[in-house]
Every structure is written in structure tokens, then in C-alpha cells.
């Protein structure tokens, strides 16, 4: 079994350093936005969280496809953790997004914002991932069906954004366009550093979670090997792959 703990310390130090740098840049270096003023600083947290969450979902879909292709359980665990982490980052996105909405436009939720709405739809979809897993008892079938879901839902993410963006007026500050963005230099640097920091954080937490899971599984396996089959308590029904 691969060891996930290797390199974890370096990775977490890099993540911490980058996030600290991003915070410093956000508050000491990036200029004040002409329209929104100080509120705009949330942008450096909210958008990287959103991008990372969405990429995390797609990443989970890719890992699910790998499981379907190889049948090796480790891909299913990786897919599960990726989606789980992306969900957490997604909750962070929604919370920071509503705070930003309230500060900018006075409402906690604005339907006319296509990005926030698409994001909500994606989150509603992935919120069904764990209930789905939990409702299938056979572990192999659970992994397989979860992988199918991850692949379909991962493909859904970009499509959903296209559809919702087409549906709504462009109220959400369109800072990131397909042409690369219209951020002025100092802001762009701060944003990129924040993005890298949040992505590093995601990868760090993913590895961290994988290491914890793998360790627990190895303890169980060790116990089974050393003490015989019946010394290991059977696992309760769960949504997580074991």
C-alpha cells in the first residue's frame, strides 16, 4: 500500500507558507478595488476556494474512472476523499460567497449571480454522494456505483456552468473571463498566490486524510493477520470505503 505520509510535512509547510504570503499580499499589497472597496478582499479567498472545489470534484471523477478501469479499491478511496474534501471546500465557498453577496449587494443570496447558482447546483448534486454510498451495503457495489456517480457528476460540473451562465444576467463580477482575466497586475499576483495556496491546502488535506484512512486500514489488516479473523470487529455499515 502506498504511503501517503511521505512528503506530507513538506507539502503542509509549503501550503502554510503560501497561504500566509497570500494573506500578507491581500491586506498589505493588493490595491483597494475602485468599485467595491475593502469588501473585495474576500475575492482572494472565495474564488480560489471555488476553483479548488470544482477542480476537486472533477479530480474525484477522474479517480472514479480509474477505479472503474482497474478495479483497485485504492482508487475508490482516493475518489471518495477527493470528493469529500471538495465538498468541504465547497461549503467554504458558499459561506464566503454569501458573505460577499451580503456585503456587496445587501442580500444573503442573489439568484441573478450565475456562478453562485451553478455552484449551489453542483453542491446539491454532490451532497447526494454520501447518502448514495450509505444506501448500498455491498462494499464492492458501493464502490462501483459511487465511481459511476463520480464520473457522471464530474462531467456535469463544466456543463452546468455553461448552462447557468447562459441563463443569467452578468451580475457576478466577471473578473475571470475566458480571455485570461482583467485583473490589474498587483491584484493578479495576489490572486494567483492565493489560488496556489488554496490548491496546496487541498492537496495537503487530501494526502492527510488518505494517510489517516490508510493507517487505520493497515491496523485492521495487521490485527487480522496477527490475531486471526475473528479478533477484528466487523465494520458497521458506512458511506466511506474501508
Amino acid at each position: 500500500m502506498t504511503t501517503y505520509g511521505r512528503g506530507l510535512r513538506g507539502l503542509s509547510l509549503a501550503a502554510a507558507a503560501t497561504i500566509t504570503a497570500a494573506l500578507a499580499l491581500t491586506f498589505f499589497y493588493a490595491p483597494l478595488d475602485a468599485n467595491q472597496g475593502f469588501i473585495q478582499k474576500i475575492f482572494y479567498l472565495h474564488v480560489p476556494l471555488a476553483i479548488t472545489a470544482l477542480c476537486g470534484f472533477v479530480f474525484g471523477g477522474v479517480l472514479g474512472a480509474m477505479y472503474l478501469r482497474t478495479g483497485d479499491r485504492k482508487w475508490d478511496i482516493r475518489s471518495y476523499v477527493a470528493i469529500h474534501m471538495a465538498l468541504i471546500f465547497g461549503i467554504g465557498t458558499l459561506l464566503t460567497g454569501t458573505i460577499w453577496a451580503k456585503a456587496s449587494w445587501g442580500h444573503w443570496w442573489v439568484w441573478s449571480d450565475p456562478t453562485l447558482t451553478s455552484f449551489l447546483i453542483v453542491m446539491l448534486l454532490f451532497a447526494t454522494y454520501q447518502p448514495l454510498r450509505f444506501s448500498i451495503e455491498d462494499p464492492e457495489r458501493q464502490s462501483r456505483y459511487a465511481a459511476v456517480f463520480a464520473v457522471v457528476a464530474g462531467a456535469f460540473v463544466p456543463l452546468n456552468f455553461i448552462a447557468v451562465r447562459a441563463a443569467q444576467a452578468y451580475v457576478h463580477p466577471r473578473v475571470l473571463t475566458l480571455t485570461g482575466g482583467n485583473l490589474p497586475g498587483a491584484m493578479r499576483l495576489t490572486f494567483l498566490v492565493s489560488l496556489v495556496g488554496i490548491v496546496l491546502l487541498y492537496v495537503t488535506l487530501w494526502k492527510y486524510e488518505m494517510a489517516a484512512k490508510a493507517t487505520r486500514m493497515q491496523v485492521r489488516a495487521l490485527r487480522r493477520t496477527l490475531l486471526g479473523e475473528d479478533s477484528v470487529a466487523p465494520l458497521k455499515r458506512s458511506a466511506a470505503p474501508s
Binding site: 472503474l68 444506501s135 457522471v152 462531467a155 455553461i162 448552462a163
Partner: protein, 223 residues
């Protein structure tokens, strides 16, 4: 291809012989129109509101059909029989999706005129072709996603619950397309052709998810 036709024929015959799903779907749609009349407190609606009401009603009626799509297979061993047969497994997907699509078309043949009668303000005549195009594209999406979700849900313990909660978010882009595509058609002096952008989005969605479903369906049938 022959497998598809065989399974399709079986499903259509089953439905014809024991009219269960389709009448329920139609009845549900009509009752929902009545509910909307009272809920919205309007005698007639038009434009985007009408398109929304129609789309939502068709969606929930479709959910009824989706929930029952694979139940017979599950309860009477149809899955095992299919797996034993030397046929391409994705044929089950195509057959079931086609059956569901046909059910939806029949549903709409009855429900849309009912809608025109009960709730819709402007006449259905001029925009009919455009509306049919939008509804057909939407039906493909409903059929494909519905079959996929139904196949997933039928193997879980919370069968009737899992289907809608997974299917509804997945279907949202298609629903947006259907409702926004039909909106201008049902307006008081609306256009007779749907906005191209929404037709394009619906078509794109249909193609992508049809291909994707075809690719992953095999994995759902393994034992």
C-alpha cells in the same frame, strides 16, 4: 440493435397490458396543473411563468416514471437474465431510455393540450412546432438521465428517494434549457421559434450525457 428492440417491445407490451405508469403520469400532470391554478391564483398564465409551470410539471411526472423503470427487472430477476444473455449490456440502457422517452412523448401529447386548455393564456397553435422541438430535446435529456439514475437507484436501499435527489440536480441544465427555450414561445405575442441558444444548450447536454451514460452503464450491471 435487435436486443434493443426486443427489450423495448417487452417494456411497451408490459405497459400496454397493465396500464400502470403512463396513466399515473398523465393524471399527476393534470392534477398538478390544477394545483398550480390554485397555488398561483391565476386563471391564465403566459410567457416564462407558463414555460416554468409546464416544465416543472413534466419533470415531476417524469420522476414517477423514472422511479418505476427498473423495478420489474429488479424484482423478477430481469437483471440476471439480461446478464446471462450474450448481448451487449448497453442495449438495456438504450431500450429503457427509449421506452422512457416514448412514455414522455405520450405524456406530453395529452398533458400539453391539457395545459393549453386549463392554464395557458395564449393559443398553442403558432408556437407548436417550436414547442415540440424544445420538448423533444428535453425529453431526450429526461430519458437518458432518468434511466441512468434509475439504474443506480434500483440497487440501493432508499430506492425512491435516491432517484430524485440525484436526478434533479443533474437535470437542472436541461430544465433550464426547456423552460427558457419555451418561455418566448408561450408569451402573449411570442415568437414561433425557440431561442437558438437554448436549443443548442439542450442539444449539447443531450449528446454529452447520452455518450457518458452509454460509457458507464456497463459498470452498473456487473454483478
Amino acid at each position: 440493435m435487435r436486443t434493443v428492440l426486443t427489450v423495448l417491445r417487452k417494456d411497451l407490451l408490459l405497459e400496454l397490458r397493465g396500464f400502470e405508469t403512463l396513466p399515473a403520469m398523465v393524471l399527476f400532470a393534470i392534477v398538478t396543473f390544477v394545483i398550480f391554478h390554485f397555488g398561483l391564483n391565476q386563471d391564465t398564465i403566459d410567457g416564462q411563468l407558463a414555460a416554468g409551470v409546464l416544465t416543472v410539471t413534466l419533470l415531476f411526472a417524469a420522476m414517477l416514471g423514472i422511479n418505476r423503470l427498473f423495478v420489474a427487472e429488479r424484482e423478477q430477476g430481469g437483471f440476471d437474465a439480461f446478464l446471462l444473455a450474450p448481448v451487449d449490456r448497453s442495449a438495456l440502457l438504450v431500450a429503457k431510455a427509449t421506452a422512457l422517452f416514448l412514455f414522455l412523448v405520450v405524456l406530453e401529447v395529452i398533458a400539453v393540450p391539457a395545459f393549453g386548455l386549463l392554464l395557458l393564456g395564449p393559443s398553442l397553435g403558432p408556437p407548436l412546432l417550436g414547442l415540440i422541438a424544445v420538448l423533444l430535446l428535453g425529453d431526450v435529456a429526461l430519458a437518458v438521465i432518468g434511466t441512468l439514475v434509475s439504474a443506480i437507484a434500483v440497487q440501493t436501499r432508499a430506492r425512491d428517494l435516491i432517484g430524485p435527489i440525484i436526478g434533479l440536480p443533474l437535470l437542472l441544465p436541461a430544465l433550464i434549457g426547456m423552460a427558457r427555450g419555451a418561455g418566448p414561445l408561450l408569451a402573449a405575442h411570442g415568437s414561433t421559434s425557440p431561442p437558438a441558444r437554448w436549443v443548442a444548450i439542450l442539444a449539447l447536454y443531450d449528446v454529452v450525457f447520452a455518450l457518458l451514460s452509454y460509457a458507464v452503464f456497463d459498470f452498473l450491471l456487473e454483478d
